[in-house]
Each structure stands twice: as C-alpha cells, then as structure tokens.
C-alpha cells in the first residue's frame, strides 16, 4: 500500500501553461508549510472497502424490515428523526462541495487526493442518510414529516438553524469554512456526539438502523480528520496565521457547540425512553466524547506548536450544558413551539422526571412544572397551544448568529448594526457577528472573510400572521387538509389531534425582534435588563426585580 501511495504521488501536477482559476480565497498563507499527506489512501482499495461497508448497511436494512423492527421502535425517538434526518444530508453534501475550495488555497497536491476522497465520502453520507429517511417513511407508522422533510427543512426555523451549520462549510474564507469549521471542529469534535453517542441512544429505543448507517458514516470521518489535521499543521508553520487560527477556533468551537449541542442534546435527552440510571446523560457523553477525547487528547497537545487553544470557551460550553441547562432550555423551547414544527413531541412523564432529577440535580424545580403543564395542555380541549397559555414562559428573542433563541436569559446581549438592533444568545455570538465576520479583524485586513446574511429570524417573516395561515404557508398539514403534522403528543387518534381550526382562534405570531426595534433607546435598555433577569426555564423576571 505504501508503494502504491508513493506511486500515485507522481500524479502531482505543477502547471506549466495555465494556472487554474482561483475562485475561492483565504487570508491564510502557506509559505513555509511542509507538505505531507497523512492519509495514504488509493482508490483501488477504497472502493471495495466502501462497497463492503455498504453491503453491511443494506443487509441490516433488509433484516430490519423483514424482522419488523418498527413494531418495537419508540415513537418518541423516531419523531425527532424527522428533524434530524431533514437537516443532516445538507451538511454532508455541503462538505462535499467545500473540498474543492481547499484545492487552490492549500498548496499541497498530495493532500488534494485526500480531499477528493472526502468529497465522494460526503456524497455517500448524504444519499445514505436520505435513504434511511426513505426507509423510515415507508415503514414507520407516521410518514408525515419524513415525506415532506426537505421542503419543511428549507422553510422551518429549526431547519434553518441546521442549515447555517451546512453553509458554514461552503462560504467565506476557504480555510475558515472548509478546514477549521468543518474538519477541525465539526468533524473532529462534534461528529462524536452526532454519529457515536446518538446511535447508541437510537439502539436503546428499538432503532438499530440509524446506528448501522451512522457508524458506517463515522468510519469515514477518520479520513476527514486527517485532512483537517494536515492542513492545521501546515497553517501552524506560518506565524501570520496564528491570529486567524485563534479567531476561527473560537468561532467554530462556539458555533458548533451552540448548534450541535442544542440539536443532539435534545434528541438524546428528550427523544429517549431509556431511563436506566446507569445510562449516560448527554452531559456525561459530552464530557467523554468531546471534553476528554477531543479537547484533552487533540486540542491541548497542539499547544506545543504554540497554538492558543480557546480553553475559556470549552469551559464555558461545559458550564452551559452542566450549570445553565442549555440542552433543557432548548428542548423546552422546541416543545413550546411545537405548533411550528413538523414532528410530534412527546410529553415527559414521572419516569422521565425521576431520571432527569437523578442526572441533573435540581432539574425538577426548574423544568418540572412546565412539562406538567405541557402534558396537561397536550390534547385540544378548549384551550390553546401551550405557547399562548399562562405557564410562566416568556417567548425568547432569536440569536442573530447561531439562530438558536437566546435561552440562557442572563447571557443575552444586543448590538446595533446598520441601524437595526440585533439580539445574541451570548457574548461569543455577538463577537462572531460584530468582530469575526468582518473585513478587518483586530486591525488586520481580512478581505476574504464571509458575512452573516439572510433573514436570520424566522418569526419576523410571519410577524402579525394568524397561526393557521403560518402553518398552512409552511405546508405542515396532513392529507385531510386540516390536521397538523405536528402534535404535542403521540396519540394518532384523529379526535386527539390539533387542526388548523384550533390555531385559527389563537393570537397572531409576533416577532420579538420587530417588537424590540419599535422601542426607543430607553425601552431597549429596559427590555434587555428585564430579559437578563428572566429564567431559568423561560420564567418571567421576578416582579420585584
């Protein structure tokens, strides 16, 4: 194999007559970099190896259908897969598309070979995941939400949070996007929870297809991690890159934490029926897979190369998960907004409460009453969906950067950009928008850095709309034309399901951002002060405050 790999290095190409067109730029430089490909993969061995992996996946799929795996699948779990499997194929195929952004900016022909193999890996991941979703759609009791997932994903506020994960790979400075954000942080750190921790939970909920597919995906990630590591070492050779590396590690770490921990944490903690006390919590999994395996074993050793590691942000992420209830706040928000979703969210029961209290002491005092209200209000019975009822919950403002709402209320900050007030879930998200994604950074010209753009607050698009019209516009309605795809319970009895008629009588959708921007300066300051005193669990600020 070594001889074969050495031979194909003879294919490396230095142009003689025309330089390739440079479409994508970077502010990084690679003048002093040693050039090595750590991967040593040739396609002669790659294709049969991948085919063999496929055989195992499709054999397992066949077995699952013949054995009627769906007779024992927990609906609570599979409903969340409607969201997850909507999102994940796009980041995969975006990763495929990000690879050529590196060809021109990483002057290492040896490495291009590895990047090209990652490119086809990513197409593999995207289509194998779409295929898994197709299988669920065909064999699970409730196909709604799987069958329109890509349309839903494109227009729904949760999908858009996931989409920013994908667009982060393909836009802006090529090294920031395709190397630091994608391979060095997303793939090396966070696929551990995506593709290792989550499959274990799927299996515990009667679903052994997701583990089969996602472990097959994860087995490709070591190649991608090698690509990222090789590029990182090249970047470290050049002193001028340190400032950008430090910037990008902070942005990439924090953004991944905000988005991946929000989603996967919720799936694992609130999508499971497995409440064995010795089952690891998401916090425990995070500590093992991300803190120990990535931070302590991968990032910290890079300090010997002089790289400044964002220790403070890693500790702050842990604090968010362990002390500030980040995952619990996110799950509660998803459930508050169940009517804007396209999957069904099961209420937590006494068994769940006991487990949460055991794993996260103090959980019940913070979140228990709200979930009891959620359960009480789950079936339509003259009342409105929980978001409109008085359950001590203030609908949150949206974070302009990570697009997850500002759920840890004490951390919310604001900034005025181009005459508009934006809200951020945390100081690091403010820094990302106001300082990192700018044409200059700490006085240094960064002309290739991207921009945060788009209509980043979903609620604004529907400000003032009746909720029945919102849900119709998004297309989250079942085939009878009135029953909603989303439900705040798992009962498929049509008499227990919410319809557009129930929504018609609700108050209109309101955008916190529109409301904030209608305030004067003093009003905005008062809004911020009140917001920071709210919580936990979305509670209003104390009256005495």
């Amino acid at each position: 194999m070594a001889k074969a790999h050495q031979k194909i290095q003879e294919l490396s190409w230095e142009p003689q007559y025309h330089e390739p067109y440079m479409k994508y730029g970077t502010d990084y430089t690679f003048r002093k970099a040693a050039k090595k490909d750590p991967l040593k993969q040739v396609l002669r061995s790659y294709f049969p190896m991948q085919e063999e992996k496929d055989h195992r996946v499709y054999g397992a799929s066949d077995g699952a259908i013949r054995g009627n795996m769906f007779r024992q699948v927990q609906e609570r779990w599979l409903e969340w897969q409607k969201l997850f499997l909507s999102i994940i194929p796009l980041p995969e195929v975006s990763a495929a598309r990000s690879m050529p952004m590196l060809f021109h900016v990483v002057p290492n022909p040896e490495l291009h070979n590895g990047q090209a193999i990652q490119m086809i890996d990513e197409v593999r991941h995207s289509t194998i995941q779409q295929n898994l979703k197709r299988l669920y759609m065909n064999n699970y009791i409730d196909p709604a939400g799987f069958n329109n997932s890509l349309r839903n994903f494109h227009s729904d506020y949760c999908g858009t949070i996931g989409r920013q994960f994908a667009e982060g790979f393909i836009t802006g400075d090529a090294i920031t996007a395709a190397s630091i954000y994608l391979t060095i942080v997303a793939e090396t750190a966070f696929t551990n929870t995506l593709f290792v921790a989550m499959p274990a939970e799927a299996a515990a909920n009667g679903d052994y297809l997701l583990p089969t597919v996602f472990h097959s995906v994860q087995s490709d990630e070591s190649r991608h991690i090698s690509n990222g590591y090789a590029t990182l070492l090249m970047a470290l050779s050049d002193e001028d890159n340190r400032q950008l590396l430090e910037r990008d590690l902070r942005y990439a770490w924090w953004n991944n934490h905000r988005v991946v921990d929000a989603a996967i944490g919720t799936f694992i903690e609130y999508g499971t029926k497995d409440r064995r006390k010795d089952r690891e919590s998401y916090a425990e999994m995070w500590r093992r897979w991300i803190y120990d395996d990535y931070y302590r074993s991968y990032l910290v050793p890079l300090e010997k190369y002089g790289l400044v590691i964002p220790h403070d942000l890693i500790e702050e992420s842990w604090k968010q998960i362990w002390e500030k209830g980040y995952v619990h706040e996110v799950a509660q928000f998803f459930a508050t907004g169940w009517l804007a979703n396209y999957w069904r969210i099961d209420a937590m029961t006494d068994t769940d409460f006991e487990w949460f209290e055991y794993k996260y002491p103090g959980w019940y005092d913070k979140y228990g009453a709200w979930w009891e209200n959620y359960n009480r209000l789950a079936v339509p019975n003259g009342h409105n969906p929980i978001v409109f009822e008085d359950v001590d919950y203030v609908y949150p403002a949206r974070c302009w950067t990570c697009m997850v709402p500002c759920l840890v209320r004490e951390d919310m900050v604001m900034a005025d950009i181009d005459g508009v007030t934006r809200t951020y879930c945390h100081e690091v998200c403010r820094w990302t928008d106001v300082e990192a994604f700018r044409p200059t950074y700490q006085g240094r010209e960064t002309p290739n850095m991207g921009r945060l753009v788009g209509h980043r607050e979903w609620e604004t698009l529907y400000h003032g709309w009746n909720w029945a019209d919102v849900v119709s516009d998004m297309g989250f309605v079942r085939d009878d034309g009135k029953t909603m795809t989303a439900q705040p319970h798992l009962d498929l009895n049509p008499k227990k399901m919410w319809t557009l008629d129930h929504l018609r009588r609700c108050p209109p959708c309101g955008s916190p951002n529109v409301i904030i921007n209608e305030l004067d300066a003093a009003g905005k300051a008062a809004f911020l002060a009140d917001y920071n005193k709210q919580g936990p669990a979305g509670r209003p600020a104390p009256a005495s405050a």
Partner: protein
C-alpha cells in the same frame, strides 16, 4: 448445591410499540403519504435516485424562506446561478424579497427547466457508485494479475514497451488533472444537488482511472525488465507530442469562472477529439498487434466511464438548455462560441499527437482515419445537443 445468582444486566428493554406502517388509520396513514412529496419526478414514478438526491440542497426561489445564511466577502451567497454564463428559464427573474410579514413568498412557477429538472440518466448515488467502481477495480486488478501470472508482458514488442511507459503513462496526468481540477473543482459551483453529484462521480471516475494507470505502470516496472516507471513524467513534461494536449488540459482548469464551460469543453469537445482519439483510436487499436492484450482492458475501463456514463449526464445536462423556452437561442450562441474557441485548440493538440501513430512496431490504422473517426463522433455529439458542428472542425 446452590446456584450463584447473576446480577441483572442493565440493558434497554425491548418494548412492543406497534409503530409499524399500517398499524392505525389517521390523516397521512395512507399509501400515498409514503413518498417524498416535495418534488415532481422526471417520469411518472419517483426513482430511488431522485428520492436521495432531489432538493437536498435548498434554493431561495423554491422553499428557502429565510434565504442564504452566509455570504462571501463580495456579497455572493450560496450557489449563484450566474456562476455560469448559461441560462435556464427564469434565471433573470429576481429572487423573492422576503421580510417583515411576507411569509415564505412561494414562487409558484419557479425557475426549474434546465437546472432543477436535470436528472443524471446514470442515476448515480451512493450504492450504485460504489458497486460500479468496486467492480471496475476488481476487474482491472484481476486482468493485470492474470497477465502477470501468465507472463503476458513478455510478448510485448520492443517499441510497445516504450510506447506504454511514455505515452500511456503520460495519459494518467490528464485524467488526474481533469478529475481533480475540473470536475471536483466545479462541484462547488453548480446550482443543484443533482449537478454536483454527477460531477463528483465524473471526478472520481477520472481520479480512479488515473490511479489505475499509475498502479498499472508500477506493475509494469516490476514485471518488465528495463521498463522505466518514471518515463511518463519526462514525456508529460517534455515531449513535443504531449505539450499541445497539456496546454489544452491546463486551459480547461483555467476557464474564467464558468463551471458550465469547463464541463462542456471537457466532455463535449476534449473527450471525443483527444480523449477517445488517443484511448480508442490509438492505444486500443495498436495494442493487440504489438502483443499486448492487457493495456486495452485498463484503458477500456476508463473509456467506458466516459462513453457510457460521463457523456450521458453531460448530454442530459446541456441538451435541454438548447431547447430552453426562454434562452434557447442565447445558450446555442454561447455554446457555439465555446465550440469555436475549444475545437481549434483541441484539433491543434490532436495533430501534435500524430507522431505517436508511428512509434509502435505494428502500426495502428492511419492517424488521419483515426482523427476522422474522432471528428465524426464529435459531430454526432454536438448535433444531438442541438448545436452545429463548428466550421473549425473542417480545418
């Protein structure tokens, strides 16, 4: 006698949930709900390939209410349709302007023809792709191994060895560059998931073929006494016969910001006029007469990639654009311009290859006949696309 009690193992308990399809009736429990309902299939029935590729990538003109989330420094976002000069129906229509209270602002008859209606006729996705390429790898490996066992390389004529080490060797560089720096490179730029999947597959065909040739070259170095495994580098870098082709190949990587022109010029012009000229009309024709039945099997795998697969997606991609209900005339004029630019370059490079026809001991059919076949093949491809063979072809 006592029996030791084993402690109960802590494992998730299987539960029967009755969550299989058909277990209950409710809105959306019918068979019609068990298909992806957000896209129109190209034919009557949705294909497996469509299910796993169509609409994975969003588009602000379709369902993407919140628009692109990240932008480049110059303001461009996502996958601008202007990253090729080709146009498909509706491309000049503005994207919906969403804002406060606009809702999704659905585009009912959104620009689809030519871009979003493109389907790869090879229907490539994960399963098909790995099966196909693994089979090619197995077949090629077996062929070469069998030849090695049978000492088949001993039968090569003296000059054929030199021909293979220099010229078949030189060809690996072309496949590698086109795979990596044309097709892989433009997979970022094209507008739909179906396009980029087709281009990634095309890219990997080429890179695999380049590596097949490199590893074949390695085997020959080990099996044939005096076979110079590095001669291909000298031929590629210095031989006059190859410098014209090299100029064209490098020019294909250097097209100024137009993924459409790169793919079109490579698969419509370069491949039939130079690729098939060399692979099919020289190597394949000459090998047997020179005692070589192995090289054609290696070359033939790559030739099949192009002629039976890569050309098919190319025709399905570019053909509809010459019949576009809004931009047919515009696209034809543009593509005719591309033909006028690339055909003379390729013909000049092809003619520079002529001395290769004289190198083997047993001569292949005449160069002029081979070039005529290549031209005829090219004219057929162009005509099928709804274009005119350019006057430059008669040079």
């Amino acid at each position: 006698m006592t029996t030791a009690q084993r402690p109960e193992r802590s494992v998730p308990k299987p539960q029967f949930t009755d969550a299989e399809a058909g277990a209950q009736e409710f809105p959306d429990s019918g068979a019609s709900a068990r298909r992806y309902n957000y896209y129109k299939p190209a034919k009557r029935k949705q294909t497996h390939y469509e299910d796993v590729t169509v609409d994975v990538q969003p588009d602000p003109r379709h369902y993407l209410a919140q628009g692109w989330i990240y932008g480049f420094a110059d303001g461009s976002r996502g996958y601008p349709l202007t990253w090729t000069k080709l146009k498909a129906w509706g491309v000049d229509k503005p994207e919906p302007e969403n804002g406060v209270g606009t809702g999704n602002n659905h585009v009912e008859e959104w620009p689809a023809h030519g871009w979003h209606e493109f389907r790869d006729p090879n229907e490539e996705w994960e399963m098909t792709f790995y099966r196909y390429n693994a089979n090619v790898v197995r077949q090629t490996t077996q062929n070469v191994e069998n030849a090695r066992q049978a000492k088949a390389f001993d039968n090569w004529t003296a000059n054929w060895k030199t021909f293979v080490e220099r010229n078949v060797g030189a060809w690996m560089h072309i496949e590698h560059i086109l795979g990596l720096y044309v097709f892989a490179a433009i997979n970022r730029s094209c507008p739909t998931n179906m396009h980029n999947t087709a281009m990634v597959v095309n890219s990997m065909h080429k890179i695999r073929f380049a590596q097949d040739l490199a590893l074949y070259n390695l085997t020959l170095s080990e099996e044939i006494e005096g076979f110079d495994g590095t001669a291909h580098l000298d031929a590629w870098n210095n031989d006059a016969e190859w410098q014209g082709v090299r100029k064209v190949v490098e020019a294909l990587t250097a097209v100024d910001d137009d993924w459409g022109e790169m793919a079109f010029a490579t698969n419509v012009v370069f491949e039939p006029l130079i690729g098939e000229l060399f692979r099919s009309n020289l190597v394949q024709q000459a090998a047997a007469g020179n005692g070589d039945f192995v090289t054609p099997t290696v070359i033939g795998a790559g030739e099949y990639d192009y002629s039976q697969r890569d050309l098919r997606w190319t025709q399905a991609c570019f053909g509809p654009l010459t019949q576009d209900k809004e931009f047919a005339a515009y696209n034809k004029e543009l593509m005719q311009g591309w033909l006028s630019h690339w055909v003379p370059l390729c013909l000049e490079a092809a003619r520079a290859l002529q001395p290769l026809w004289s190198q083997p001991d047993a001569k292949p059919p005449r160069f002029e006949d081979a070039l005529d076949r290549a031209k005829s093949r090219f004219a057929g491809i162009v005509t099928e696309l709804g274009l005119e063979p350019p006057k430059e072809l008669s040079q």
